[in-house]
Symmetry: C2
Subunit: 273 residues, 2 copies
């Protein structure tokens, strides 16, 4: 899915909702059973109930790795179940160099059939460009996150110049294939999101942290809106959709919650038409 | 394996060799066949031929992920084949926060049964401490690597204070469980390795880049030696051991190469007794 197709999808669905698929074994409704296959049934129920409301799904790879060998199959079956009109984001935060990075990219783009993968920037150019070399795919680079630990390194360097997150956004613009970059920016600090938008006016931002983690959709849109990109935002919501109900009505409850969020997104898109 | 046991192992084997298990499908000897099971046969041959000469093995997880679902089984069978007297390092460079990080740690330590895992520091404390919470395990944090892209971010911030890699080493010393940290430091810049040793005099350093990548064992030891830790170095060698021969004598050739390296290590240990 290229940028034009993504913008068209956002406009036609009146949504920029990304649903995070992080199936927590402790919170999967009891009637689905237990173990990796229960997680798969849960994911399939969530996807079926929300696929007209979401433009992207984001399985968090850690949840599948922790299931053991069977988790790999659950991840692949989950990716397969995501309709082709939605962006499939492997949230893997990989980061290694050269031919190792190429192998991580092959796992994400060829094995899991993801359209996009999240990548950590620490090792620099030769850890990012092997992902960007896949011409029909997206690389979503960690920039400014909103976890407490972000202060440790992401904000380092500001005394003498710019914080690390800003250098990541600036330097990565020069990478080969940079037109296939997006950035991860946390939702809970709107002023930071505005700075990120200024640093990358022409790129999509993947914004986790809305909902259960405390970010506000209205503040995110006010701070991060890029008019030429139909907003240029993919707002990820995880727990508040997944666990809207932990009973046998989990899918209907997830749909209701997703519908509420999508309606808010439609209103923002309408205002900014 | 705790620090005392690791030091004892280094002394008794007269070696601080870590063998990188990065099976490249294009370089596996033809008589082993093709596909994931050929990679496993290759790994088993390498391990059997070198396990008295090495103190650690480091499977690079990307190589197994790129094989698809079967790769997971190959990684587990490889880990299982590493004798318990050797440190099993999952080179995964994971980096995510909170309960996601815990799941990556569970995958590495519980599913793959690794003794140690490499971790990327970008997201800070809450992306590292979930690994450190595993009391009988090691977390090996990326610090100063020697790939060209390291200039992009690892060396950022030096004008106004310290480079990022040094901040990573300083700040992480304050993390809960920091006594279970090691650091990844590249071999090809001895002066940088000396700075890293000064920043972490009491920690083991995992040093890739010796051999095919151009680092010299003698320079690494001169720059990075920590006398109280029997050197405090795990020197990783990959391709020059794995592909010493690409014929049916690959295991014998790997042993000869590993033996040459181990003999050099024994001499350094003897000199520094």
């Amino acid at each position: 899915m290229d940028q034009h197709q993504l913008i068209d999808t956002i406009r036609s669905k009146a949504s920029f909702l990304c649903v995070g698929l992080d199936p927590d074994p402790a919170r999967i409704p009891a009637h689905l059973g237990t173990g990796p296959q229960a997680a798969l049934r849960f994911n399939l129920g969530i996807i079926e109930a929300t696929s007209d409301l979401a433009v992207a799904y984001k399985p968090n790879v850690a949840f599948y790795e922790a299931m053991g060998a069977e988790g790999w199959g659950v991840l692949q079956a989950t990716m397969d179940a995501i309709p082709s009109g939605c962006l499939r984001i492997a949230d893997a935060k990989r980061g290694d160099i050269g031919n190792t990075a190429t192998r991580y990219a092959e796992a994400a783009f060829r094995q899991w059939k993801a359209d996009a993968v999240t990548v950590a920037p620490y090792m620099g150019r030769d850890s990012v460009e092997p992902f960007l070399a896949f011409e029909d795919k997206w690389t979503i680079l960690l920039a400014a996150t909103s976890n407490p630990g972000a202060e440790d390194f992401e904000f380092h360097g500001a005394e003498g110049g710019q914080p690390l997150w800003r250098r990541v956004m600036e330097v990565s613009r020069g990478y080969e294939g940079a037109e296939r970059l997006m950035y991860v920016v946390g939702a809970t600090r709107p002023e930071l999101l505005a700075e990120c938008r200024a640093a990358a006016p022409d790129r999509f931002l993947l914004v986790p942290g809305v909902g259960a983690q405390g970010g506000s959709l209205e503040e995110v849109c006010a701070a991060g809106w890029a008019p030429k990109l139909a907003g240029g935002l993919l707002v990820n919501v995880g727990r508040s959709v997944l666990y809207a109900s932990e009973g046998s009505d989990f899918a209907e409850a997830a749909r209701l919650e997703a519908k509420t969020i999508q309606a808010s997104m439609a209103a923002v898109l309408d205002l900014n038409r």
